[in-house]
Structure formats: C-alpha cells, structure tokens
Amino acid sequence: MAKKHRKKKNRILAVTAGAVLLLLLLIGVYELLLTSDEDAFSAQENRMLAQRPILSGKGFLYGTFTDGLEKYLADRFPGRAWIINFDRDLRQVGSLASWEDFAQVAEENVPDMAFVPETEDEDVVVTPRPTRTPAPTAEPTPEPTSTPEKTDATAAAAVETPKETPQPTATPAPTASPRPTKAAADVSSFPRELSSYLLDGKSRKQVTMKTRTEIYRLCSLFDAYASLLPEDGTFVMTIVPSSYRANKLLTFADPKAMTSEFEPFIHAVTANNVAAESTGDILFGPMMAGEYVFFRTDIHWTPWGAYKVMTKLMAHAGQTLPDYDAFPKEQEAPFLGTIYRNTRNKQLEKTPDTLDILSPRHPVTVRRYTGRDAYVEVPFIDKAADPQDRYTVYLGGPKAWTVVERADGGSIEKSCLVITDSFGLCTAPFLTEAYDRVILYDPRYYDKKAMGTLSEQIEAYNIKDIYLIVGELHAFDDSYFKLCSKQF
C-alpha cells in the first residue's frame, strides 16, 4: 500500500514534467508553423519584429539561421506584449529607489555621453554643398592663425587649438540674406571648454562639457544642413533638458541655476541662417513661476513647454503661432510617465501628471515611411498607444520618417524638416500652422539604403526650414549626431 502511495507521489512530478514539456513543444510548434509571417511592428519598442528565418546551408553554417530562429521565437512568443509588461513590473517589485536616486545616476551619466568626435572619422565633418549656399557671413572663421587684430586671449586660444580643428566653413554666397546678418563672433569671450552648469547655491556643478573643437564639428554639420536650404530658409536648433534635471532646479528656486554656454556659441559661429535657442533660458523662468512646462513623472517637456519654445524657434523662421488654447485639446489624467515607470516612486504616484493631447487645427494625413515610396497611413493621435508610455500618443512615438501633411489643400506650400527624438513629437501641431508639410526625422531609425540620403530627401521634399529639437541625452551622445552625419 505504502509502495503504491509512493509510486503515485513520484508520478506527480513526472506528470508535471510531461505536461510542461508538452506545453513547451506546443508553443514551439505553434510559433514555427502557425504564426503569421507577416510584418509585425512592436509599438512598445518601435521596431519591426523578427521574421521567420529561411533555412539554408550557408545560414546554418554561419549561424545566421540559428540566431534568426532564436530572435523569431522570442519576438513571436504568444502573449509577448503582456509578458514584457509583466517582466518590467516584476523587476520593479521591491524597488526602494527614489526619484532622487535615479536623477543622480542619470546626471552622473550625462558627462559620459559627451560627444567625442574621432579625428579619423572623416564623415563626421560634412562639407557644405556649394550650391544653394545661404547668406554671406562676415565671419565665422574663428581662430584664424594669423589675424593681426586678434586680442591676446583669442591668439592664445588659437595657439591652443589643434591645427586639424575643423573650422566652420561658411562659403560666401552671391545673394544677400533676407534677414540681418549676425554680428561678427567674438569667440574669445567663450571659454575653450564649453559647459552647462548647475548651481546648487553653494557650488557650481558641471553638468555637461564639450571642447570647442567638438562644438565646431557640430556647427559644421549644422552649416551643411543650412546650406541645402533656399535663400530664405532657416536652420534652428535647440537642446531640451530632461525634465528630471529641470525639476531639480525648483529646489534652488533660481531661474539662472542652470546656465549653458553651448547655444550662444553655436549661434555665434554658424552661418547666417543658423539660429540656436536655449530651451533652458526660455523655460526655466516660467517654470520657477509655477508654469507647467516639464512633466514630473515623465522625462519630456509638456506640450505647453514645447509651445513656448516653438514660439521662439518659429520666430527665427518668420512664423507666428496662434494661442495655445486655439488648438483642439484632450486631457489625459492621471498620466504616469517613464520616470515613474522606472522608479515606481510612491511620491510620484501621488502626484501624477496631466497630458494635454493637442491636435492640429487643420485636418492632416500622417504617413510613416519605411522606404522611399513605402509608407503606411497612421492617425495623428494614436489613442491605442502603448499604455505604459502614453507620451507616444503623438504619431505613435518616434519613427524614422513621418510626414504630416495638411489635408485641407493648404496653400502655404512650405515644408519643414524636424530632426528630433521624441521631444519633437508634440511640436507637430504647432508646425502645421506654418507649413503644409511637416517631416519628422529620427536618425536612429533611418535606413539610408531604403530611404536615400538626407540631402536627397531635403531636395526631394523641397524643405524650406529645418528644426533640430533634441533632448539633452541625445545631444550629448556621441552616436546621435554621428548618425546625422552618416545619413547626410
């Protein structure tokens, strides 16, 4: 009797093993044979899911088939979206990390991500095209080696500058600019290493730093973009601070607690039709005055913050914006963004954000391109956007090449290009006021082979103005602008 009982107990584990193995096999067979092999897109990750690999001798020999099969099985696993959310939630269980801990780590990370050009990487320096060159500039050829009227400081800086330092090449053009030319850049007033600082009342903490050489490289890239624009075209750039850093300023109650030397320098040394604005200068004052310009629980600016900055940026291109309230608006509350998702901070949970979902005032069509002529039409507001990341309601999140076109036969006949990461998404409603075609370009997802070079695209779409709106994490990341250069 006892033996029989023991045998029965032993079988329980074996039966479980058999059942689990059978279930695993069913999943494997289902994935291999029964799942659709059509293109599938993951909105959560903003990427195409893996395709079923084709078995070939070569593929097996070099491991591409086996790697492909593993990726396919993972990507097409039944209930993957739910599993991923569960996995993310599970990893947060028991976390004691606070928002302050996270912000501190993020801040420590920023200097590591400083843009460090490699001198041998020639494609970082882009020579502006000689054609369609914008307005002439009296400068900016900073630090010429033998300018007699140089001040001592400038001369000293010139000596320090390596000879191979790429100089911004502002090729003189025969035509005059429609806007006043910039004053000659007094680069001697800038330090050799440009920084942004966070003042905590007692000490000045360097947040980001780049050498002038590095910034010159960026400037030459910006000049190259600008040189492709028509005579009245403008290139406007800004770097958007992350909300956790901006919010930290509230602790100091000083709008000047964060200062940046980048934008004034970029503005000074680039071509005449390149403008740079400091988002910090525009938004920190209102933020201290209690305006809701940055989210608390999400890394982004609010649409209201974006509106305030876009008002300034678009003014450089001679455009004005109607009142914020004029835009059709829905509110989503409570909105808990990515900072909350990452930290699960109880305090943040108690103070959720409100997300203004703005739509353009005019009917628009939105096309998301995956090739030069391959596109899908998507809604401007994607109400089914990732529930874990509601900021992607705007156009479904960042994509390689998204064209927002006015469908009301707008007669403006102007196109603009927005070089951006997710920070530019909520600017599209504002830009459709001044442009009948707004193109959002994210170099991280852009495939030059499928889409063509960016300079070809700028020409093909007849772009008038370019806006570069990038979050600080990418602005100081080596790879982001390298991609811009490579895709140029």
Binding site: A14, I27, Q44, F60, R80, V105, A106, G471
Partner: protein, 471 residues
C-alpha cells in the same frame, strides 16, 4: 545551443526527451541522443564539430591499442599520443596566441598572433576524452568498442558545453543500458528547473546590475565591494545553474552525473570551498595531475611545487590570460597557508570567523578573475581595501542596491544548500512519523513556477526598450 534559449526549451528539449522516453530500444535511444547531441553542438557553430570528431577518433584508436597490447611500452606510447594530441588541440585554440604574443613581446618583436576562434566546450570535452583514455590505461574503465557510443560519451549534450566533467567510468554502464523511470524524469525536470531559474532569474539579473556599476577605475569603496560580490554571485549562479540543468537533463535521459557545486559559500576554509566549487574540475586535477605528481606524499618543497602546478593549471584552464594564472595561484597559496602556517590557528578560530574569512577571500579572488588587466585588478582592490583613497559610495551603487533588494535577498538565500536543508527537514518529519503529502505537489508546483518565470524572463530579455535613449 544553450539551455537557456527558447529554441532549446520549446523545440529541442521536449522533442529529444519525448523521443528518448517513448522509444525503449537501447541502441536506438543512443542513436537519438547522438544525433541530438551533434545537432546541439553544431547549432550555430557546425565547423568545429570536426575538432571534436578528430579528438574522439584519436582517443578511440589509442584506447583500443592500450586494451589490445600487452607491451607496457606500447600501452604507454598510445596513452601519451592520445593525451598529447587531445591537449595540442586545446593548446592551439586556447593558449597559442597567448603564448606566442607573450614570447613575442618578451623578445621585443612586434609580431602578434590572432586569437583563433575557440570551439565551444573544448576545455570540457578534451578533459573528458583524456579521462577515458587514462582510465582505460589504468584499468578503471572498460573499453568502448563502438566508436559511435564513444562519440556519444564525448558529445552528450547535457554536459557538453559547460560540464560537469564526467569520467567515462561514471557513465560506462549507462551507455550500454539505462532505465528511464517516471521518478527519474520528474527528478531531472525538478533539477533542470532549479538550474534554469538560477541562470535566468538570478545570474542574468546579477549581470545586468553589475553592468550598471562604474568601471574599475571609478569604483568607490561601496561599489567596489558590490561589484565583487555581484560578480561572485553571478558566476556561481550561472555556472552552478548550468551544471544543475546538465544533471537534471542527464537524469531525464537516464544518466546520473556527479554533482558539480555544493553550496560553496557555507565553507569554512578555502580547501573546503574548492571541495564544493566546480567539484568535477577539482576531481580531474586531483586524479590526473596532483596524484600522478606525487600528491602530498612527497617532501614539503615538492608538495608546494605540486600545489603550484595544479593551481596554476586550474587557473589557466579558465582562460588564457595572466589574471587567471594569478587567480589559480592565489587560491593555491591560500590552501598551502591553511595547511601549514595557519593550521593550528584555524583550529582555534570560531566558526563564524572562518566562514567570514573564507567568503571575503573568495570575493577578493573573484576580483582577480573578473578583471583581465592588472591595472583594473589594482584599481578594484584599492577601492575595496583602501577606502580612504576613494569615495565611500557613489550613486550607481546606491541605485543598484535600492532597485534590487529582492534580487540580493534571493541570491543570499539561494546560496544556502536549500535543497539539502529541505530534504533533511522532510526526512526528520518522516522519522517523526509525520506525512509529507504536500512534498511532491510542492516540488511540481515549484518546478512549473520557476520554469514559467524563467521563460517569461527569456522572452522579456528580447525586449529592447531604450527607456530613455530612444527618446
């Protein structure tokens, strides 16, 4: 192929175990396992299967010569040829570039040899095939007349890639005939699930947390220790998890492999630690290197030399770099100290101090193992042992600990011999006349939950969120 992959879990494992269970014919079972093992090895890297086939063929011939020849000289010659050819493949693939480049640097030459691609599992199957030839020579193992079954022993998929190193004599009987009972399948499944959980739920996440800590030069006192401890835990759960999966898989297909880890962190001395950590490697070096060298039945000086050889080889077996050699010698030195100068002191030392000392010394040892450059080893040791020269803490370490308290707790708990403790508890209850009716259900549930969670984590790992950087 690796055990912690969806291809293995959802296709390979159920198909192979299913076929092997339902087909009762011994030779057909062996054939199924052989084909499966070769496919397992060839998955993703089929070219190097040739090296394994060659080593098997050479040792098959040598063992036959040893078995059939009575001349001691010829037997010895066959043994030496078999061992040297097996080791020369290992030497070429693993150590040639290291040796050549160091000699080249020593003589001021600029010549550098490129590191050949290392065939997966070569360190393990080379030692296994050597044990076969040596055991046949010693008369400890029977000759395997069927070359295919010898190939099956070498390539047996559960232990092919990461051990444990199984001696032929341990599995010789099972090669001919083995029973696959429901109990064995259940036990094997239970062990496999535990191993998978260790690998996917603990080791992989320890690795992720470790990645978030600063580089060696930027470590603070806190992050220095945290990095060393996390690496120790990652290595333990990774390797012991893999070994446990191998043992479980072996049970499911009728083999009984030796244990490879036995809760090493409860050790009270370095010697004990190495009796509990990678046991099959220690056994191999003891049986095939240390004892043939004379073991400890020699003069004191010769014994120290033997220890240096064995521990130097143990270190360098883990990788062709100076840090591995140093790591091996470090442990060899500690064991020599324990058995000589500290012998009497340790007898009088309280257990908890011995335990603490052992853990700290092994953690320090892992710093040598982890960092391939001496500069990095120096930096991390400085951060750990000279706190006045570095910052006491840094945000990365604080964030890592605060974000993963449950992981750290789970790692500490799972470092204890829980399975043995549970078995002892159930045995006590049984001795007291109490029923353990829930035990099989509990084990079944635990296996299913751990396997399910591991599967979720494996799928979740394919998620590429770029939480902040995609924006």
């Amino acid at each position: 192929m690796v055990f912690s992959s969806l291809t293995f879990l959802c296709l390979f494992l159920p198909i192979v175990v299913g076929l092997h269970t339902f087909i009762k014919n011994g030779p057909v079972r062996n054939a199924i396992l052989l084909v499966a093992s070769l496919l397992f090895y060839a998955w993703g890297e089929p070219v190097w299967i040739v090296a394994m086939l060659f080593a098997t063929a050479v040792n098959y011939v040598c063992a036959r010569i040893i078995d059939q020849t009575k001349s001691p000289g010829r037997r010895k010659l066959a043994l030496v040829v078999g061992v040297i050819i097996s080791l020369s493949a290992l030497l070429y693939f693993k150590y040639a570039a290291f040796l050549v480049n160091n000699l080249s640097a020593l003589f001021g030459s600029t010549f550098r040899m490129a590191q050949p691609k290392l065939p997966i599992g070569i360190s393990f199957y080379t030692f296994q095939i050597i044990t076969y030839t040596v055991d046949v020579y010693r008369g400890d193992a029977p000759l395997q007349k069927n070359p295919l079954w010898l190939l099956l022993y070498v390539s047996l998929f559960p232990q092919l890639i990461a051990g444990p190193i199984v001696r032929y004599s341990d599995v010789a009987d099972s090669m001919e005939e083995r029973k696959v009972t429901p109990t064995a399948i259940g036990e094997g499944f239970f062990r496999f699930s535990l191993g998978l959980g260790k690998k996917v739920l603990l080791a992989n996440i320890c690795g992720e947390v470790l990645e978030s800590l600063p580089a060696a030069a930027d470590l603070s006192f806190f992050s220095g220790w945290l990095a060393a401890i996390l690496f120790q835990l990652q290595l333990y759960f990774d390797f012991s998890g893999y070994s446990e999966m191998a043992i479980g898989l072996g049970r499911m297909v009728g083999f009984k492999f030796p244990e490879n880890f036995d809760a090493p962190f409860i050790s009270q001395s370095i010697s004990e630690f190495w009796q509990r950590w990678h046991i099959s490697l220690g056994t191999f070096f003891r049986e095939y290197v240390y004892i043939p060298l004379g073991g400890n039945r020699v003069s004191r000086g010769r014994w120290v030399l033997n220890m240096a050889v064995v521990w130097g080889l143990t270190g360098i077996w883990h990788g062709a770099n100076w840090n591995y050699l140093l790591w091996g010698l470090y442990f060899g030195f500690l064991i020599v100290l324990e058995r000589t100068l500290l012998k009497d002191i340790l007898k009088r030392t309280p257990s908890f101090l011995k335990h603490l000392g052992t853990v700290l010394l092994t953690v320090v040892g892992m710093v040598i193992f982890r960092n391939e450059s001496f500069a990095d080893i120096g930096c991390q040791l400085r951060s750990m042992l000279a706190p006045w020269r570095v910052a006491l803490s840094d945000p990365y370490a604080v964030y890592a600990v605060k974000s993963n308290p449950l992981l750290l707790l789970a790692c500490v708990i799972c470092s204890f011999p829980l399975r043995k403790m549970a078995a002892a508890w159930f045995a006590r209850r049984k001795a007291e006349g109490k029923r353990n009716a829930f035990r099989p259900y509990g084990r079944a549930l635990l296996s299913a939950v751990i396997l399910g969670l591991s599967l979720l984590f494996l799928v979740g790992q394919s998620f590429n969120p770029f939480l902040y950087f995609r924006f």
